[in-house]
Amino acid sequence: MTLTARVHDPRADDEPSGWAEFGARCGLHAVWDYGLMRLEAWMSRNPAVLGVVRDGDRIAAAATVLICRPWWRKPRYASTPTTRTACGWPRWAEVYTPWLSGYPAVVFDPDLTDDGRRAAVRAFERAVLRHVGPGLMGITYSPVYADTVSVLNRPLCRTWRNDPTTVLPNEWSTEDDWLATLSKARRTSIRRYARKIDRDPTLEVREGWGRTDTDPHELATLINRHRARLGGLPRDPRTAVAGAFLAELLRRKDVRLLTYRDADGTLLAANTLLDHPSSIVLQHWAALAPAEGGRHNLYFDCYLRCVRHLISAGRDELTSGRGLVDVKTSLGFRERELHTVAVPRLAVGAR
């Protein structure tokens, strides 16, 4: 096995050959689309680049990596790739998907053995080092599943457990079967909210795949406002959601947009659901706070609609990211362990 690795900057480089085929083979979600990654990279402070490891011609592993500027510097978008050369400025690399908080950003061909995976990681890290230059301070993989930790871990590295992500395995054939497994109080409240929303003439609820009827900038504003209200993550490597990205994402046939609007057309809440042959994703949830004119309980209605798709389409699981674990547990979600592996500069590319 001869592995070669290369970092592709979606802003400047063409789509790696065989990328779509690899995505299908590994069951990658919509957000791994190279065109979407290009938009994301342009609109980022810390642009995601794509590391691709090949065994011969065939892609064996891939990872999205955010090349991060120090968080204490004044925020600005990443410099244009044509002027970028590997430089001495401090940077670190986060193997992270800015759009899916509960999934690993490093993906291996399912047939690759653990030894193969270790070799792929080394090749990948050396490519990152070449791409970033001597300023690279280290690489973190966050999050990764428990079974990947042993592949990534080696002397000098540190690993720890993160907040878990939440997963609802599909064990039902009807929506009522699912509701029957919840506590009586939760079940009754979900039904009551759904009826109330249904009968409310001042509320317009629309859901659909590949929708183009919503202003993506309006949606971006709602999402960014929601994020700002929740306070965001400390040293969040992400940049505010850009309308241009959402415009492209929402156009996809495997992305469902759910919107709640007031009688005067105000966007009260919205949700994006990413379809997938097995693991569907409740991706964005954003709502106006009640103080801003928002409504209570749309959140539960959104979950009901997502579970409805899970069951009717016969998918294996619905994931809903980190946070609000208590509420999600009351809806039947379980925790899935997530870990971080931090690789300091000295261990980058080492055995």
Partner: protein
Amino acid sequence: MRWRRGYLRVVRSSFATVPFYRELWALGGHTDPVLLPGKAAVDGGAVVPSALTGRVGDLVPLAGGPADIDPWRGLGPVLAEHLAVTAGALVAVVDPTTPRPPVDLPEGVRSCVLDPAGLGGAYAGVFDEVANHLRRGERVVAVGGDKDLDQLAAALPELLAHRLTRAPVRAPDDLPSPVGPVALIAHPLLGVLGALGGCGRWHLDHCRVYLRATSAGAAYTLLRQRSPRLVDVIAGSGRPGLCPRHGTPVVEP
């Protein structure tokens, strides 16, 4: 030239830090200066004001800043330069829409805002203040549209109306041959852009405003307003020129 250097700086910094321009130019390109080689730009990367509707939040740089559009931005410096407005004067903005008084007047210059429709009603107190100022022989500069200024003048006693210094505003797409000695160029998003000079040419407030000709018309840039950032906003069809008498930038209608 220094004027152009200031513009280049604003374009680069907007591309690097302001969401709206990042999106516009990364995907659509910008020429003169070329930001991304090989990318053809629609109208050189300039933007029509209607494209900014609902997007003012995206004109704020990533580091944060105000998101208020001030339609009277730049009024102070332009009045100071072209009408020698100095301490003691009262600037009366006559505007049925403006919610607040100008903020950049020279020190010692007072200001008030009047809705011409409410001179006898909600704005009666302000109107009296204007009249008293004129009665005392102090200078009052009234700024607004021709019709609005006419309404104010008509409401004043004839003697006082004559003492009023009128500074009518013109939109950048309405710069005819001058009818009076004084006129300002103003735009609802960009604020006050310049004024008619003694030479009869439309002088730009070039310390704060840059003008560039594009295929879609005249594109104005505010050189000093950090947030909300306004760059290459199309308004009217004027072209940049240089006043032979003053040697400073003008708009040629």
